[in-house]
Symmetry: C2
Amino acid sequence: MAKRENISMSVIRRLPRYYRFLNQLKNMGVTRISSKELSEKMGSTASQIRQDLNCFGGFGQQGYGYSVEQLCREIGNILGIQNAHKCILIGVGNLGQAIALHLSFETQGFSLIGLFDSDPAKIGTKLHGCEIYSTDILPQFCEEHQPVMAILCVPRAAVPRLSDELYNLGIRSFWNFSHYDIAMKHPDTVVENVHLNDSLMTLCYRISDELLPRKDVIPDPAAEE
Amino acid sequence: MAKRENISMSVIRRLPRYYRFLNQLKNMGVTRISSKELSEKMGSTASQIRQDLNCFGGFGQQGYGYSVEQLCREIGNILGIQNAHKCILIGVGNLGQAIALHLSFETQGFSLIGLFDSDPAKIGTKLHGCEIYSTDILPQFCEEHQPVMAILCVPRAAVPRLSDELYNLGIRSFWNFSHYDIAMKHPDTVVENVHLNDSLMTLCYRISDELLPRKDVIPDPAAEE
């Protein structure tokens, strides 16, 4: 497959959700679905679905809808989940443990090959059968195993030095749970940030806003329970 | 403050990041900043910053830039972080523990008033001084304490029934870590989803795409290290 040019990040970010819904449909035994039916299930519009999928060449047949299994497989291929990109996780606290234990890396294009922590009490212990290594051995480990991605579950203060070190060891992709913007210093990295605090504050805004008195709006009695 | 109409979710989602950067600047002793300087630090554009802030009335003075402290406070007010929206967390596994222990709810507009689990081994134990209650007592607890938001850290399969129950107990806002779309069934809820699998798959796409041969593109020698 050749590199696809000019596909917007918003389209790309919708692909995992398509994949998720299609997988559920497949598991429920649905074999064929129209963009209209899919859009109703996903709370989207049929034209957006058709537009998004057309970015990758289009899969449906006019009037016949999509084959759920084929579309699911194709989107999986586009996402690259058949890969086993080697990754390491650094910071085996509660969050790191939750991620290491509960995510299915293998079905999502990755292979988790190492867990690291700087806490002597954790080093040498095992999590789900995997040994936790000292961050001191990152240079040897990276040279030997060549991971391409690092999952950062360490406190924010530790990230600048750690991300510099990992960058110098050849790692160019990060799944970053800290509130530090790695890509600002290293623009040639691929970073997916999970900013939990930002998500929580967005929720706070939305709740606070819901609770504010709505001016110039006459309450709609039909909307009341 | 009256309800603000027609502010797009993309603007709202950028506010926590402004708040985060401004807080860092404040802590570093910076008192004043221009939209240009702020945009350089944030990897954004000055005009986007001005446009975003103008949605809420605008704060800067032409030629003088923004007062960091004032802007930080104002954005905090817009986000509503001075609130203490009562929330409960359900599912005290590793992820639930990480969230309960490491997030500072009080500085982000919430007050975490209860932890719940259905595992008898966990019920009655304490986490960071807070007792873990049985999900069986949710009806009494909600009636007595009236939480407005629930954090869902339970497996996907448990969410449909649980979210229905919480909805019937009056909860209309959810911070949802499962891959189940609550708002599809209950459109009058406010839901912030944290879909870790989607984020991981997006990263997989971006890494896989980076590694693909780039057709019709002549390598730029200046871009090589």
